[in-house]
């Protein structure tokens, strides 16, 4: 198991490295650089040359890449183009705010998804299942900006229960984000729950049809004992991976939601940095998101391995 883990970690590191190349190359492709953004789009001549020399933009791309990647490894993400501020400082609060959204959605969404998924599977093709499954398809396929706008219209404009837009500044204490943060969390929860519950449902259904579940049923084990002892532990294993995938997706989907609610998180910062051509910030955020994605998937693999006796004891059986 240990060698398998090392292999996974190696692959993860390679993926992050490839991502950093893609990000760097992608941003290199953008028209203009930090200097044209900082001075002016049409800046020419001496001023531009000086600026490029100061920021080291006149060097070869490969040199700049290795410098950028090396610094990023040490946690130094460079300096933003227009504000001339340390990016790690700027990103810190934004990351915290996005994590607040994600944590809220996970706290509500994962238990809810498990419950609804199990209910839908155990009462398969009954009204409860049909309602849950149809709602889930609608929730996961309708674009986030549509569900977000609809929620603002209903809960903020019509009912007036919660504010529909976030006006708190990025570095305010977390408590200041209540109650504005509730609607964004609700939208995220809705989409996330739908994704997870569909996997839970199909996984439980699959386990119900397995030989050992049928066997237990035939020899007269009480239904609920089968459900709790045989089905749920086996069925919930694949869920770990889907939760990981969904969290990773959350990081991207959050971009639209943060924009709709004007929420000062990482996603909106990314959109802003792209429109402002703040390339160092764009690169830094992309790298952070990709690293989190890889790390979460790695963690999920590890958890699956720990929870699955077959994988955990593979090396013992071989002996």
């Amino acid at each position: 198991m240990f060698s398998m883990l090392l292999r996974r970690m190696g692959l993860g590191a390679i993926t992050v490295w490839l991502v950093s190349i893609i990000i760097f190359a992608g941003v290199e492709m953008l028209p203009g650089d930090a200097c044209t953004a900082y001075l002016e789009r049409e800046a020419k001549g001496k001023l531009l040359e000086n600026c490029r020399r100061d920021l080291g933009l006149d060097r070869a791309a490969i040199t700049r890449y290795s410098e950028w990647a090396g610094n990023a490894l040490r946690g130094d993400l460079g300096v933003s183009a227009n504000g001339q501020k340390q990016i790690s400082e700027l990103v810190g609060y934004r990351l915290r705010n996005t994590l607040l959204l994600a944590a809220g959605a996970m706290l509500v969404g994962i238990p809810l998804a498990l419950f609804l998924g199990i209910v839908a599977a155990l009462w398969r093709d009954r009204p409860a299942d049909i309602i849950v499954s149809t709602t889930a398809i609608a929730a996961m396929t309708i674009p986030e900006f549509v569900s977000a706008t609809l929620m603002i219209l209903v809960f903020s404009v019509w009912l007036g229960w919660v504010p529909g837009i976030v006006l708190t500044s990025a570095n305010a204490p977390l408590a200041d984000f209540f109650p504005e943060v509730l609607l964004p969390i609700a939208v995220l929860t809705l989409v996330m729950t739908a994704h997870i519950l569909r996997t839970v449902r199909s996984s439980v259904i699959e386990t119900l049809a397995s030989d050992y579940a049928q066997m237990a049923l035939l020899k007269g084990v009480p239904y609920w004992q089968i459900v709790f002892r045989h089905i749920l532990p086996n069925a919930l294993l694949p869920t770990i991976n889907v939760v990981a995938l969904t969290i990773a997706w959350l990081l991207g989907g959050v971009v639209v939601i943060e924009t709709v609610f004007n929420y000062p998180g990482l996603g909106r910062m990314m959109i802003d940095s792209i429109s402002d051509r703040d390339l160092p910030v764009t690169q830094a955020i992309a790298l952070i998101i990709a690293t989190v994605y890889v790390a979460v998937n790695l963690l999920a693999d590890l958890l699956t391995m720990l929870a699955n006796p077959r994988l955990r004891t593979a090396h013992m059986r071989r002996k």
Partner: protein, 295 residues
């Protein structure tokens, strides 16, 4: 009178009809197919049935509620909401309708090829695919759109490129299932070349998986397209587009809620229709549609 014993292989058209009938026989499939067809017909005949021009402004009647002339009211420039909603899907359907087959085609061919040759090339390519998939879609799209500008001629190749990448994985996995079978071994033994193998043995067998994948990609692509429009990186005004309409009308939600509700219903009904159809298609073709996250 003799009984014919030769088995007549159903032609592609008969097969298509059979699958379509199978989809329509399921309640959710019939509903989905109905919605998709409705939207396609509307996109085709839209310009001839709308009551107003989509650019026609009425300065005296801004943000109005429903009136006998304007059934769904008007927007902040006094344009007819019904007209713009009916026309709002044309651009999206056109762009994604071209980009989806392109994505499935290139992703499918690459996936089948690396699935067949395997080895070092496969390892390297899959790492690159993983790297691409670990970036949020919106970042990848925005970098290309900011580089080359917005507009149909940029959006189609961009969407086709990025949405083809996950198809590589699906096609590769489907190929792995087929490659080990006897008829492929037999074709290899007969001395068929790599391309004959792909064309005659592999593609016909992964086609169904790719069809279902294509239907799913279409719905994700519509989601991406309208989200881009909503964020201001998609179609440009005054083109009527649901994403753009929602973004415009959002600020006036409290006065004219129909301005956001109408395009929302248009967009959601199309996307739900595609998904229901894709689900029914998967069942009709006997493919177990595994749970997939949007990429």
């Amino acid at each position: 009178m003799s009984i014919s014993t030769t088995y007549q292989r159903p032609g592609p058209i008969q097969r298509f009809w059979a699958v379509l009938q199978d989809i329509a026989a399921r309640p959710s499939g019939a509903m989905g197919l109905g919605l998709v067809i409705l939207h396609l017909v509307l996109a085709l005949i839209g310009p001839w049935i709308v009551p107003f021009s989509y650019t026609e402004m009425n300065a005296a009647l801004m943000l109005s509620g429903p009136t006998p002339q304007h059934w769904l009211g008007t927007d902040h420039l006094g344009r007819d909401t019904l007209t713009r909603t009916l026309l709002g899907g044309r651009e999206a359907i056109l762009v994604t309708g071209i980009a989806t087959p392109l994505a499935v085609l290139w992703g499918g061919l690459v996936g089948v090829f690396v699935g067949l040759v395997a080895g070092r090339l496969d390892e390297v390519l899959m790492r690159i695919v993983d790297a691409f998939l670990s970036l949020p879609w919106i970042l990848k799209m925005l970098v290309l759109i900011v580089t080359f500008g917005t507009g149909t001629q940029v959006l189609i190749p961009t969407l086709a490129f990025f949405y083809g990448i996950p198809v590589i994985r699906i096609a590769r996995a489907a190929t792995h299932d087929v490659v080990a079978r006897d008829f492929v071994q037999a074709a290899r033994a007969r001395g068929h070349g790599r391309f004959a193998l792909i064309w005659r043995e592999l593609l016909p067998n992964v086609r169904d998986a790719l069809l279902v994948e294509g239907a799913m990609r279409w719905s994700w692509m519509l989601l991406a397209f309208s989200s881009l429009s909503f964020l201001g990186f998609g179609v440009s005004p005054p083109t009527p587009d649901w994403g753009l309409m929602i973004a415009d009308a959002r600020g006036f939600m409290s006065f004219a809620p129909l301005g956001v509700l109408a395009p929302m219903i248009g967009l959601s009904s199309l996307i739900i229709g595609i998904n229901l159809t894709a689900d029914a298609l998967a069942k009709a073709l006997g493919i177990d549609r595994a749970q997939k996250a949007p990429v």
